[in-house]
Symmetry: C2
Subunit: 140 residues, 2 copies
């Protein structure tokens, strides 16, 4: 069971403005970025900028939860069955399942659990992402 | 200027209970952990558990900010002057400085800036942490 942090997603008010901010700080946006979501390769980790309302909707967060300074952590695994196994383990040890694992619109398979303080963890299989030998997502 | 995510700190209600949760999920706590703060090596990234009120105090967050699902990101650099330079750059491009760089009680030197949505970034020099050739913190 390889639980790890692959992506730190910051829920933001204005994706374009936040992209400008992080580019000004010295990050280079990946070509995988889109108007709705921006990806940065930060060493072995990926940082994403995503509208906070979209993040709340994607994770099926309770209304009003964590909109200020919204963050999610993502663990990218190699297969749908690995996603099922990790979310099953999270549920077994008492985690709240925010979103059961399911096929999602971007072509992958993903679910979310919440830790004891409600921090949302996405567990995902993304066929568009390359995972290296160390388990890190490598953006284009 | 090597801005990177070294540590993802989750602000939690009960550090011991959250440690139990993450250990049950399969993480192994580092020997650097203390009752007040728990560290996990998650591949090249460090995840920390810290009381959310302590996190708010450490980052000098505005009252009530981000207590639900509190998270901070940390960038560990090689020297105090590198901390000054990065926080200076953040300020120059319009970031709010939450805490000017200063010597801190744990023996290091650190400051915080906020991104456009208030996500707190700590920029720190920590003489107790080993940083490898890739810029990753390596816990004992």
């Amino acid at each position: 069971m390889s639980l790890r942090i692959n992506i730190v997603t910051l829920g933001v008010t204005d994706v374009a403005a936040s992209r400008d901010f992080y580019e000004a700080l010295g990050f280079a946006a990946s070509s995988a970025s889109q108007p709705e979501i921006v990806f940065f390769q930060v060493g072995p980790v990926v940082m994403a900028l995503f509208a906070k309302d979209s993040l709340a909707e994607d994770a099926q967060l309770p209304h009003g939860h964590g909109r200020a300074g919204a963050v999610s952590l993502a663990c990218n695994l190699e297969s749908e069955s690995a996603v099922d196994a990790l979310l099953g383990k999270a549920q077994k040890i008492g985690a709240t399942i925010l979103k059961p694992p399911q096929k999602v619109f971007w072509g992958g398979y993903s679910g979310y659990f919440a830790d004891p303080d409600g921090h949302p963890w996405e567990v995902a299989y993304n066929p568009h992402f390359t995972i290296d030998a160390n388990g890190a997502v490598q953006l284009p």
